[in-house]
């Protein structure tokens, strides 16, 4: 039974054909597509049929001028070919051309129009995509057109076989867009909604879909952050929160994923909350990603939508009712694309001698004993040792992914199922991410009324965390990069005489970097995460225009982080017990949702109305425990010393929601969408739990107006405007209370005795944060959509910010106060343009986007108050960022350098600037030290001489995608970048700051000396008495970069060849090679300019504390279709 066999009832008088088609779409699961320029859809007819077959109704409506072709649920209407009417004597055909037409996935396309240009001579392709056409001569051109695809023109020449691969339109205006609780045609969308399709998502070898979105959508900034498996930082249209979570809401197949918040009531981490990342989902299962950027579009998600909404839709059953089995596999190698030039042993001794001697300190005793053996019994001496610590730690790391999927569909059931494996080793030793995943999506028609469906995913991920990051905190909590660049080149990595076998600098070396190889290979911190994630629904089509849907879903996640830190002694540091920590959490979030959908057409009025009542709960519990084993061979807690529960918790929160939306369309020209959501959230203080979130947007399709139709070049012109209010609720349960904690001990008489305390100030009025956003947009398409362009302008204001205020220390509360305080605004512009062309067998798409975002904090809690952040003694003496009203969030803040004091006379002159030579210009300045600028001209350098030194926020983000097909070859080039941002180069503080004796970059050999004054690098002096490492422009660098994010070349084995083996069971075979980050253009001097935050701390974005660098990947893959 085909689509055309469906029964239709109509009773219409003088109704336009296009309205009748819409009415039919309501009754039967079909979509009509046609070009209004080719089909006269405004013709009015009357019709009265009851339970008639759709094919008969269409025959009545159109035959003979229009014919229809069925593709899955799509019915394509087009002018009937007129070949039959052609009069034979017009010309004598000379060439018979035949060929096959395939789509971008190499599947045959039936029903494609093939026309000889300038004539009425034409044909259409058959079910196998094959066609045959007789044309006049070699000068004839074939015009190949199909709805949704770029029209191609091909000169016949001497060819008799012309195979054509269709290229999709860059923007397909008949495309269906997922908008949350429903779908909408792209042409009817009035909000700011961006889509990314499966092909783009699958282009990059990344663990989670977030990274795949990088550079794809203007206004959406993605920053990779850390070792494999660490979620990237995603920011939509600027920054939503100063001290809270600014992550967007992710909705997977209608299920909003918990945002773990990140704040807790006790200052103790919420160990059980699963990370808000999408690593549990195989990117190859994803059909499309929609990003709701403006408030009107996202207001439907109300209280959680302030930072934007990312809607992820996974693949459903096959579109062509055939069974497809696809195997997709690649293997690649990742390497660091840049290394630093570090000191070798000879240089280190020279530099170290200067550094220590200039400070008046004694040289490390090792310096005079370099000919000692590196360990008792070794033949090698320290002088002979020259360890390349970068080489020891960076590796060529494999990355691989394989997915097998099956999709099928028949009249009753659609099915998509897949199994996938992904493994990425980090380019630094000791880091990796691995995932096993399974998916089953199905939908079945139980009867004419009821449909049942489910989407189900189960996955297991295992992450080996970088030692020294938050999840694997050890004593110093320092990133591995820090130890690599700080290592002493004459130290060996290994020492077989020591327990554990590793070696580090000791007292006689005057330096104490940790051995990063030992950290990576001995200390293990692994996070396992198992996620069951699914939704089941039943939908009833009560009448042709009224549907009810009930869905129940659940996200069940268990996490376990196991830290296994063995006994060792590296000659300086020692661990005398085998320390084990087992931190486990359970998270369960059930969702129940009731939805009514009404779709109704009255004359020129098209109405879509939904009403939803829904409840989502979040249950979270965790237990952290530890013990210490006496042996390195025992890896369980049982039987260890000091077994203890180190933390734990159990919380439950509830979100109740009522929402409604109406989408109204008049005559295909005037569009209106209005929504309202009311949310109640249990984590807010009683009396402050409910919030209202309205949204409204309007659109005008000028191109549909009669007066515009004369401009035939313009195929689409639409103006849009929207306004809405959104909320944010990323707070921990009971954050409004002042909890009593008993995690405190005091050993009276050496007997630990329990103590209690409260360290957070209650806020019994803690309520919603409100974001108000306006958006203006224009969509333009020219030349039958060959060229498309969209522009947006938005204004986003956050009020009642959920702000963690750093209280005055004297108030005595250790945890910042959480209040609805402060205001911030973001505003910006976004542009997307696309062009596609097909000619002579080559077709290409070019698309470019650019996003411009600006941010300003407009109000903090008290006038002139500031929030400073970033301080870390290893990276200089003070904070690097400051946040205050009137400035962008967390601007880099510090002093300006003003050259180097060349001699004492210059220092004396500076001291006398204020008229009193006895008061110092800079405390402890000596010749060779940096002179800082006296910005307030008071003759003394102090805190008042600081100023803003730039922002980590780029002037703009951009992406550029080029793809081309020629015969069996395809090429993709994807460029992504940011421009005009600054990075605070903390790695340079480590490698050139010369704070104390550590390994360093070769630049320190160029440090100022009395006999070497022509340099901008200050003198080497341990202890940094002049504070040359204070936050200053010395360490602020241009962080702009342009990356060839992906370049890929593929070859489709021709179907003729494929038919020759495996009994023709292989439908499709593509092999490809690709590279990620093949080229990075940047002036940044550190390992990598893509800098996130350290351990997700607030207000430290863009400070390079030794960020895990992004790798360069070269890989090859194969895609097989059966």
């Amino acid at each position: 039974q085909g689509v055309l066999d469906n029964k239709v009832s109509l009773d219409v008088m003088d109704m336009e054909v296009k309205t009748i088609l819409l009415e039919i779409e309501k009754q039967v699961p079909v979509n009509f597509t046609y070009r209004s320029k080719l089909i006269n859809a405004t013709r009015k007819v009357s019709m009265q049929v009851s339970d008639a077959r759709l094919s008969e109704v269409l025959d009545d409506l159109f035959t003979p001028s229009v014919e229809f072709v069925v593709v899955d649920k799509e019915i394509v209407l087009r002018p009937a070919p007129k070949t039959a009417k052609r009069s034979a004597p017009d010309y004598i055909p000379e060439i018979i051309v035949s060929g096959r037409i395939i789509d971008e996935n190499n599947s045959p396309v039936p029903g494609v129009n093939i026309l000889e240009k300038g004539t009425t001579n034409g044909t259409t392709s058959d079910v196998d995509g094959r066609y045959t056409l007789a044309v006049q001569d070699g000068n004839s051109q074939l015009v190949i057109s199909f709805i949704g695809y770029t029209t191609q023109e091909i000169v016949v020449g001497t060819q008799t076989v012309i195979n054509v691969q269709l290229a999709p339109d860059v923007v397909n205006l008949s495309e269906i867009v997922v908008i949350g609780y429903g779908t909408q045609k792209r042409s009817s969308v009035t909000g700011a909604v961006a889509s990314v399709d499966a092909k783009e998502i699958a282009a990059l070898p990344v663990p989670g879909v977030e990274s795949a979105l990088q550079g794809r959508i203007p206004g959406v900034s993605i920053t990779n952050n850390g070792s494999p498996g660490t979620p990237p930082i995603v920011r939509i249209r600027g920054i939503g929160s100063i001290t809270g979570n600014s992550d967007p809401l992710y909705v997977v197949d209608g299920f909003p994923i918990n945002q773990s918040g990140g704040m807790s009531t006790s200052g103790v981490t919420m160990g059980g909350a699963p990370p808000t990342n999408l690593n549990s989902f195989d990117t190859k299962d994803i059909e499309s990603v929609e990003v709701l950027k403006d408030a009107a579009a996202s207001a439907i998600y109300g209280s959680r939508a302030a930072n934007g909404v990312v809607i992820i839709t996974t693949k459903q059953g096959s579109k062509d009712k055939k069974m497809h089995i696809d195997v997709d596999s690649y293997y690649g190698a990742q390497t660091a694309w840049k290394l630093l030039d570090l000191l070798n042993t000879q240089e280190y001794l020279r530099y170290g001698t200067d550094l220590v001697t200039n400070a008046g300190n004694a040289l490390p005793t090792r310096f005079s004993n370099m000919n000692d053996p590196i360990y008792p019994g070794a033949s090698q001496t320290y002088a002979q040792t020259n360890t390349d610590w970068q080489d020891a730690m960076f590796r060529t790391a494999p990355i691989t992914q394989t997915q097998v999927s099956l999709s099928n569909a028949n009249e009753v059931t659609k099915l998509f199922t897949s199994a996938g494996y992904f493994k990425q080793d980090g380019i630094l030793l000791g880091t990796s991410f691995e995932r096993y995943s399974f998916r089953l999506n199905s939908e079945s028609k139980l009867s004419k009324v009821f449909t049942f469906g489910e989407n189900f995913n189960v996955s297991y991920t295992k992450t080996a965390n970088e030692i020294g990051t938050s999840s694997s905190a050890t004593g110093g909590n320092r990133p591995q990069i820090q130890h690599i660049v700080h290592q002493v080149p004459y130290m060996p990595i290994y020492d077989p005489t020591l327990p554990g076998g590793y070696r580090a600098a000791d007292a006689s070396d005057g330096s104490d970097p940790e051995n990063p190889v030992r950290n990576a290979l001995m200390d293990q911190s692994k996070t396992d995460l198992v996620k069951f994630f699914g939704t089941a629904y039943i939908e009833a089509s009560i009448t042709p225009w009224l549907k009810y849907k009930f869905s129940a879903g659940g996200d069940f996640t268990t996490t376990r982080t196991f830290n296994d830190f063995p006994i060792y002694n590296d000659g300086f540091r020692a661990r005398n017990t085998h320390n084990l920590a087992d931190n486990r959490g359970h998270f369960f979030s059930p969702l129940l949702s009731n939805q009514i959908t009404i779709d109704k057409t009255f004359g020129k009025n098209v109405v879509n109305l939904i009403a939803v009542a829904e409840r989502q709960d979040f249950k979270n519990n965790f237990t952290n425990s530890s013990s210490q084993q006496a042996s390195n061979l025992v890896h369980v807690l049982r039987g260890g010393l000091n077994p203890s529960i180190t933390d734990g918790g159990d919380t439950e929160t509830t979100l109740l929601s009522y929402l409604a939306r109406v989408n109204y369309e008049y005559d295909g020209k005037y569009l209106l969408s209005a929504s309202f959501r009311r949310d109640g959230f249990s984590s807010f203080a009683p009396g402050h739990q409910w919030g209202n979130f309205p949204g409204v947007s309007v659109g005008w399709r000028i191109s549909e107006e009669e007066f515009m139709k004369v401009v035939t070049q313009i195929s689409e012109l639409k103006l849009r405007a929207s306004y809405g209010k959104l909320g944010a609720n990323n707070i921990a349960p009971f954050a409004w209370q002042s909890g009593i904690f008993t995690s405190s001990n005091y050993p009276f008489n050496n007997t630990p005795t329990g103590g209690s305390y409260f360290n957070q100030l209650a806020n019994k009025e803690l309520g919603w944060e409100t974001t108000t956003m306006t958006n203006y947009g224009i969509d333009l398409a020219l030349w039958e959509n060959r060229f498309t362009f969209s522009a947006e302008y938005y204004n986003r204001n956050v009020d009642n910010l959920l702000l963690q205020i750093p209280l005055a220390g004297s108030l005595g509360y250790a945890v910042n106060y959480l209040g609805n305080l402060g205001k911030m605004k973001n505003w910006g512009y976004e542009f997307v343009a696309g062009y596609s062309k097909a000619t002579g067998g080559v077709h290409f798409n070019l698309s470019a986007n650019i996003g411009i975002t600006r941010n300003e904090v407009t109000d903090l809690y008290i006038p002139n108050s500031t929030i400073s952040a970033g301080s870390n003694a290893d990276y200089g003496p003070n904070n690097m960022t400051r946040t205050e009203a009137g400035h962008p969030i967390q601007g880099f803040y510090g002093w300006k350098t003003d050259g180097i004091f060349q001699n004492q006379a210059e220092i004396d002159a500076a001291n006398a600037l204020d008229g009193d030579a006895s008061t110092k210009y800079q405390d402890n300045a000596s010749p060779g030290d940096i002179r800082f600028k006296d910005l307030n001209n008071d003759g003394v350098i102090n805190l008042l001489d600081q100023q803003y030194l730039g922002s980590y926020l780029p002037k703009f983000n951009y992406g550029l995608n080029f793809s081309a097909n020629y015969n069996a070859f395809d090429l993709t080039l994807f460029v992504q970048g940011v421009q005009g941002n600054k990075v605070y180069n903390g790695t340079k503080v480590l490698t050139q700051g010369m704070l104390r004796l550590f390994g360093a970059e070769k630049e320190v050999l160029n440090a100022w000396r009395p006999d070497h004054t022509n340099t901008d690098i200050p003198r080497a002096v341990s202890g940094d008495p002049n504070q040359n490492t204070r936050a200053s422009d010395r360490f602020v660098e241009d962080g702009s970069f342009l990356r060839i994010k992906n370049i890929s070349i593929g070859y489709n084995v021709p179907s003729d060849v494929l038919r020759g083996f495996a009994h023709g069971s292989v439908r499709r075979l593509r092999i490809y090679v690709s590279s990620q980050n093949l080229v990075t253009l940047t002036k940044y001097s550190g390992y990598d300019p893509e800098i996130g935050t350290r351990n997700n701390t607030n207000l430290t974005s863009g400070i390079d504390y030794g960020q895990f660098p992004q790798p360069r990947t070269i890989m090859g893959g194969i895609q097989l279709g059966f």
Binding site: F572, S744, S756, S868
Partner: protein
């Protein structure tokens, strides 16, 4: 909407806590616990005092930036170390205020008698007064928080030094009778009446009131304290709560060091990090200054009790090791004209074990107040009020300790014929007896403040530390104009 009404099953809250004596007592333990934190006696407290006392020199390049700056008088208001110390002192104040504020609502019954409640409040008030004395010494007039804060608008401006002084002395005077003279069993370590009186006397002396101080110190003298025969017993884990000890901050060696700035932990992390920071074979961040080493008279046995020299033995006394130059990283000292490596021994675990590299399980209690200090303070009071004989007698009691057994004053180097000469002997005796016990910094400030000396322990010395920049940024009642002079 009932679904939104959640109960907090993870912990009690301020609204339903302090319901009985046990909860009040636990909260009081929490005040003590916060004294151990990383910014206070666990770590930074001793750096704050020691870096400004003139008794310490840098061990070398391994001394981290914020510490190095204080050591050379280059501390800025943004200095992280002093900011942490400031904040953590106020954490203690907050916890003490909470106990004091909530005590009245806790019902008394047969298990929780009025006298015990009064003692709890008195202990909390003692701890709060102790912290204000420290704040006063470092920063001068500070915000005086006397009740726990319930609203962010309750910030306070800087009080005057006199107001802080008044608060401390009034407070301590009021609680003396509520504190017992001694404790037993698992109450050892709590605030005693003697501790309160020592603190009161020190506060009086800080403001030059020697008469009042003398009265309090004489009371302490009458409480049964006496000197240990062996000076070194004051710095071992084995001789904790000895007869010389008036108040100790308690540590145990179980578990690793706890880096928390509030002193919170679920595990048994109750050790302190000092041994690691200063020990000869540890980080050796600070070493004794040449001036301190030079202060010791020839043959004063306290020299070897305070410091390790190359060639000394350490570790398990049954299996001692010999300390080498190579094992001691960093700088040399100049002792008796000879450059050599000298390291701190006081409060190091090396007297009984070889910590071997990183070792953070120092469990010995920190002796905040001990009787030798009281005797020397008494000597100072007697000298000031005009009874030199008594002063000399107190000085000589300290020198007569059997393990010390130094010749009595007057000596050739230290005649005691005048008030000034006696004061010089007092300065000397305090320096060698109390070396590295976080006492000399405040001694010097006190003496300078009261015109007894103009001696500055360091170049660039400023009597007051800068009010932390974060306090100025976030306290609406303190602005740049209220900063201490010189910053």
């Amino acid at each position: 909407d009932d679904a939104l009404d959640k109960s907090n099953i993870g912990n009690k809250t301020v609204d339903n806590y302090f319901e009985n004596g046990a909860e009040l007592g636990t909260a009081l333990n929490g005040v003590y616990a916060s004294l151990q934190n990383n910014n206070l006696h666990g770590r930074e407290y001793f750096f704050m005092h020691d870096l400004r006392s003139g008794e310490f020199a840098t061990g070398g390049g391994q001394l981290e930036g914020p510490r190095a700056q204080i050591l050379i008088g280059a501390q800025a208001p943004s200095n992280g170390l002093q900011t942490g110390v400031w904040n953590s002192f106020y954490y203690v104040v907050h916890r003490a205020n909470s106990v004091i504020d909530f005590a009245p609502k806790v019902p008394e019954d047969e298990n929780f008698e009025a006298s015990l409640k009064a003692r709890y409040v008195a202990e909390a008030k003692f701890l709060r007064a102790y912290v204000y004395y420290q704040l006063l010494g470092f920063w001068g007039g500070v915000p005086l928080m006397t009740t726990h804060v319930t609203d962010i608008t309750q910030t306070q401006p800087r009080a005057t030094e006199q107001e802080v002084y008044q608060f401390i002395t009034t407070e301590l005077t009021s609680i003396l009778n509520d504190l017992p003279v001694s404790y037993s069993g698992n109450d050892l370590g709590r605030a005693t009446r003697g501790a309160a009186k020592v603190l009161l006397a020190k506060t009086y002396m800080f403001f030059g009131d020697y008469t009042k101080a003398k009265t309090q110190l004489e009371d302490v003298k009458g409480m049964g304290y006496s000197l240990m025969n062996n000076y070194f017993d004051n710095f071992t884990e084995e001789a904790e709560f000895n007869k010389e000890s008036i108040w100790e901050i308690c540590f145990t060696s179980s578990g690793n060091y706890n880096w928390d700035p509030e002193g919170n932990d679920f595990g048994p992390n109750e050790s302190w990090i000092r041994s690691q920071e200063y020990s000869a074979v540890g980080w050796r961040n600070l070493i004794p200054s040449d001036a301190l080493l030079a202060e010791f008279e020839n043959n004063d046995p306290r020299l070897k009790d305070n410091f390790f020299f190359t060639g000394d033995t350490y570790g398990d006394p049954a299996n001692p090791k010999t300390l080498t130059d190579a094992a001691q990283q960093g700088n040399l000292s100049n002792f008796k004209g000879v450059p050599q490596k000298v390291s701190w021994k006081k409060y190091s675990v090396m007297y009984k074990l070889d910590p071997g590299g990183f070792y953070d399980r120092n469990g010995m209690n920190y002796r905040v107040y001990r009787y030798a200090d009281v005797l020397l303070l008494l000597a100072e009071c007697e000298n000031e009020v005009g009874t030199p004989t008594a002063a000399i007698d107190y000085l000589n009691q300290v020198r007569a300790r059997p393990s010390v057994n130094m010749p009595a004053y007057p000596t050739a180097t230290y005649p005691v014929n005048s008030k000034a000469e006696i004061f010089r002997a007092i300065m000397h005796e305090r320096m060698v007896e109390l070396a590295g016990e976080e006492i000399r910094n405040f001694d010097i400030i006190r003496w300078r403040k009261n015109g007894k000396t103009t001696f500055a322990p360091l170049a660039n010395f400023k009597d007051l530390m800068p009010i932390p920049q974060t306090e100025i940024d976030n306290n609406d009642k303190i602005d740049q104009g209220h900063q201490n002079s010189g910053y």
